[in-house]
Amino acid sequence: MAAEIATVERALIPQQRLIRSAAGVGVHVDGTELHRINMWLFDNGLRILAQIHSHPSDAYHSDTDDEYALATAVGSLSLVVPDFATGPTDLSQTAVYRLDKAGKWMAVSQETVNRLIEIVD
């Protein structure tokens, strides 16, 4: 398949509620909000290309991230930013995963990240 360029045009912040348990912290987005986002995407001719969230410390894809991701299409990206994103924007410190055809989130190497993602603004 020829290389294609997709441009991120909007960042959506879904309505969400905090999850706090013995396993740590997280966020939950309910079905009503996901339905609203689906309609909004359709009305605006947009698709979900990637999702991004932060962790309190280390950046990695947790079991929750694997099982309940909002980005669900093959090729989607999931970015996890360490330290609650308090540091400067730095892709080298960001964990990047991509959804494969089998529905598994696979870690993307730094070299590939550098080819795959360009921050232009």
């Binding site: 939950h28 079905g31 009503t32 996901l34 309609m39 359709f42 698709r47 947790s62 309940y68």
Partner: protein, 101 residues
């Protein structure tokens, strides 16, 4: 969010030439997908097709729900013809919930 061609969907419940077949247009994460379904089959069969054809493999079919524009959920276990889905109706397939952490 990425820009894509915004083609207006066809009528959501368009009868095809084949008996008992209906073409549904189902919007998944903003993308309209045309799915041919048998009106005598349970709705979940059309949901699975829509996910497969749109490449949405990240979550299993049971984690999704099909709604109309008002957010009314269609019972996926019921036959399509019993759900009152009509031509021109937009159908939206969305996750029941999402999470991260």
């Amino acid at each position: 969010m990425a820009k894509s061609p915004n083609t207006a969907p066809e009528a959501a419940g368009k009868k095809t030439g084949s008996k008992n077949k209906i073409t549904l247009t189902i919007v998944v994460n903003g993308e309209p997908v045309s799915v041919e379904a048998n009106v005598n089959a349970p709705l979940h069969t059309a949901i699975a097709k829509a996910l497969e054809e749109s490449g949405n493999v990240g979550q299993p079919p049971e984690n999704w729900e099909l709604k109309d524009e008002n957010g009314t959920v269609f019972d996926a276990s019921k036959k399509i013809e019993d759900l009152g889905i009509t031509a021109g109706q937009k159908l939206f397939l969305s996750l029941k919930a999402g999470a991260a952490g």
